[in-house]
């Protein structure tokens, strides 16, 4: 019997396999995933597309007579460039563009391998921070640079993201290490890890607003007993930024700690034993074993933390409603305020900006995780 030429062999089609109950494992997998994928597409993809579409329309519910005309990218122009500075070069040389250019350069250099990844990420963070501080957290008196309120919300969102992600990592990692040390009191540390994580964010915000109240709060009372006159926390812009970030770090370090704890427990003890036999110091063991093996957990913790930080709404809203003035009006709060003013078209455009920020961060992190593969 002659060998059948390879190309004449045809695997039975999907529908035939389905009828005969003879699916390959991969096909079966896709079949089983299909309902979930369909539901996800319906409840996530469809609304995202709808918001994108809505952002291209004028829609204000208190101006129903105007209808819902298609206005193209008008909302984005208003948000990013405003009305009269499109061609104004002097403004294009502002801080934002410089910052953005530097950011692009650093990311590009990092991706091309001219800089190590760590340097590139640290550089990007520094640029973002400097640009955010230079742009100010104060509503600009002349709204010539696009929507001043949007840029204010953008910079405060960036600041909260950087400060609270770094802060929660720096607090969360030692907490996880502490919770992993075999001791009689380990259960206590673990409960302390769980409580802030389990508390509703709005409740945390209200609670800390009381703690930080400048006349009746615990924080200033403690400071007064130590002989220091505390700041007017939530009643002044600079200290309100601190108070809010401290609160967010308190509420979110526990989450980072829990994820890192799970990572720590998956590290094989024999590695440490071998290192000890070789005479490695505790610091060397941490730097050369713990940290590298913890990297996947760190990545997961950072991604989730950054995404929730970009969407921050609850704690600043509960503490100061985004005040004083607009100091802590994050993008999330701005979207809500615009929606409540019934300007649905512009609110959709702002949501798309928020979505874009989240997407950009996710892509960056994913590249970082898969960089070694």
């Amino acid at each position: 019997m002659a060998f059948a030429p390879e190309q004449t062999y045809r695997s039975p089609g999907f529908w035939r396999r389905l009828r005969s109950g003879n699916l390959t494992e991969a096909q079966l997998g896709f079949m089983l995933l299909a309902p979930a994928a369909l539901v996800l597409a319906l409840v996530m993809l469809w609304p995202i597309l709808q918001v994108l579409w809505q952002s291209l329309h004028f829609e204000r519910l208190n101006l129903p007579a105007r209808g819902r005309p298609f206005i193209g990218l008008e909302h984005y122009r208003r948000m990013l460039w405003g009305t009269d500075m499109m061609w104004d070069l002097q403004h294009l040389l502002g801080w934002r563009l410089l910052g953005l250019a530097a950011l692009v350069a650093v990311v590009w250099a990092g991706a091309r391998g001219f800089l190590t990844r760590t340097t590139a990420i640290a550089g990007a963070i520094v640029i973002v921070l400097v640009a955010g501080l230079a742009m100010g957290f104060h509503p600009s008196p002349d709204g010539r640079w696009g929507d001043a309120r949007f840029w204010n919300a953008f910079s405060i969102t960036l600041l909260i993201t950087v400060a609270s992600v770094v802060g929660s990592f720096l607090i969360g990692l030692p907490l996880a290490l502490l919770a992993n040390v075999p001791s009689r009191w380990r259960w206590l540390v673990r409960i302390a890890l769980l409580i802030p994580w389990a508390m509703p964010r709005v409740l945390v915000g209200v609670m800390f607003a009381w703690l930080f109240n400048s006349t009746n709060g615990v924080v200033n009372d403690v400071l007064r007993r130590l002989g220091v006159e505390g700041p007017l926390w939530l009643a002044r812009a600079e200290s309100a930024v601190w108070a809010t970030n401290i609160t967010i770090v308190w509420a979110t370090s526990a989450f980072v700690g829990l994820i890192l704890l799970a990572g720590l427990q998956s590290i094989d003890d024999s590695l440490y034993e071998a290192a000890m036999v070789d005479g490695a110091s505790p610091w060397q063991r941490f730097w050369c074993i713990t940290l590298p093996l913890l990297r996947p957990s760190i990545a997961v913790a950072l991604i989730f933390r950054t995404l929730t930080a970009i969407q921050t709404y609850d704690i600043p809203y509960a503490m100061t409603r985004g005040g004083p003035g607009r100091t802590l009006e994050t993008l999330g709060i701005y979207v809500a305020n615009t929606t409540n003013s019934l300007n649905l078209g512009y609110a959709a455009a702002l949501s798309v900006a928020l979505f874009g920020m989240s997407l950009a961060v996710t892509v960056l992190y994913l590249r970082w995780i898969y960089a070694d593969d």
Binding site: R60, L61, N62, L63, P64, H138, P139, P141, G143, A209, N213, S214, T215, L232, W233, L234, A235, R236, A237, A240, T320, R321, G322, G323, P324, G325, R326, T327, N337, T339, N340, S341, L342, L344
Partner: protein, 420 residues
């Protein structure tokens, strides 16, 4: 046989269900569901063809509005009647979110006669270009609360001018020697109360946010005088430096703890001071209520508050809803709300009502303030206008903007909000 009987009974129930009109009323958690519930049951007993029930959502004006935004944007008829804040009817009228009520009266004249018993302020808010969009449920205003025991001790009468208030507050603070005693407390936080903080003093200086020709007038000498007065409250020390974090209820709690001599606040605070409150009160029997002071030579003014009943235009039971609305806005219902929930009546006749005065003797004193209460900007863009005024005001109290910068931002913000 038995099966047939059950089927027949089920059919009968179904038929009865169809014959009755179901009405759904939406209120907030702050509007005393415990009092509204029995009122609806009473209505159902008297109207066997209607079954009215209610739904509670949100406990602040903002949150209740957010819920209604969702319901009405989707043009849902699930709710038939809802309660809205006095600042909303203009927006509801523009958006087509409230059923015009003129159709339920035999004539315009009959409608105007029906409305005569209501206070002029709330009617002004609900009657837009001759079309009636809602009926007042109850009203509210800001009052000057003062510690009657302290005023008596130093031989003061309630102040009628801001200068008098400052002098009295300073004297009381100095004589009492208590570092925790605040002379004058008001709302400087970033919420809705702060627009009233600004407007009330502006009005009492003879100014307004807009002139008769429709120009925004927030950088006028009157507006500067308003800001100078608030600067002075902070500089002279009669007001605490953290006023930027003072919300409505925080104000109320500070006064209730005995830490404040004079305070601006809404009507709800009174019942708390008398002991109907989750917090302990040390000021029961030591509180007086007066109209807000004004600048020398000008009239006192206060912000109007309160809630209105409106019919959902997407409801399919409007005729039945109107019967319920009439009942909810009736003197009998408002009497119950006044006696059991301390809601300030929107009907003038109830201020002389013996039952109401027996339960809430202070309503007699409230009347003089309430009758002159003025509306916050009446516009479909209220939310934008409100943000354009209270955000800079809050930044001013946080010493982030100077008086001049804050006024410039308000002027620009309100102009932008109304330029559509």
């Amino acid at each position: 046989m038995r099966r047939t009987l059950i089927a027949l009974a089920a059919l009968g129930l179904l038929a009865a269900g169809f014959a009755q009109t179901q009405l759904r009323v939406f209120i907030g958690g702050q509007q005393r569901p415990d009092v509204i519930g029995p009122l609806l049951e009473q209505f159902n007993a008297a109207n066997p063809d209607i079954v009215a029930s209610f739904e509670v959502g949100g406990a602040t004006s903002d949150v209740q509005q957010q819920y209604l935004n969702t319901v009405l944007t989707s043009r849902s008829g699930d709710l038939d009647i809802f309660l809205i804040d006095v600042v909303r009817p203009a927006q509801y009228a523009a958006s087509g979110w409230a059923e015009p009520l003129n159709q339920f009266f035999p004539s315009e004249a009959a409608m105007m006669t029906y409305l005569e018993d209501f206070l002029p302020g709330p009617i002004e808010a609900n009657l837009i270009d001759g079309t009636l969009y809602a009926l007042p449920a109850f009203t509210d205003a800001q009052f000057l609360y003062y510690r009657s025991d302290l005023l008596e001790k130093y031989g003061f009468e309630p102040p009628t001018t801001w200068d008098e208030l400052k002098m009295m507050a300073l004297t009381i603070q100095q004589q009492e020697g208590d570092p925790n005693l605040q002379g004058f407390n008001y709302q400087g936080f970033q919420g809705e109360g702060t627009i009233c903080t600004f407007l009330q003093v502006l009005w009492s200086a003879g100014g307004n946010w807009v002139d008769d020709a429709g120009n925004i007038t927030l950088t006028t000498p009157e507006a500067r005088r308003t800001m100078a007065w608030y600067d002075d409250t902070l500089a002279s020390g009669i007001t605490v430096q953290n006023i930027a974090e003072m919300s409505t209820d925080l104000s109320r709690q500070q006064f209730q703890a005995g830490n404040v001599a004079f305070m601006l606040n809404w009507g709800y605070a009174w019942a708390h001071f008398q002991g109907s409150s989750p917090q302990e009160t040390v000021v029961a029997g030591k509180v007086g209520v007066a109209p807000l002071p004004a600048f020398e030579g000008f009239d006192s003014a206060t912000c109007i508050g309160g809630w209105q009943w409106a019919i959902n235009p997407f409801s399919s039971n409007k005729a039945a809803a109107w019967r319920l609305l009439e009942y909810l806005a009736s003197p009998e219902t408002q009497r119950v709300l006044a006696v059991q929930a301390s809601n300030i009546p929107a009907r003038q006749s109830l201020y002389a009502d013996p039952d109401v005065l027996a339960a809430a003797p202070h309503f007699g004193a409230f009347y003089d303030v309430i009758i002159d209460a003025r509306s916050r900007p009446v516009t479909p863009f209220y939310n934008d206008v409100s943000q354009a005024i209270r955000f800079p005001m809050n930044a001013f109290f946080a010493r982030q903007l100077t008086a001049e910068e804050a006024l410039r931002e308000m002027q620009q913000g309100v102009e932008e909000a109304l330029d559509f």
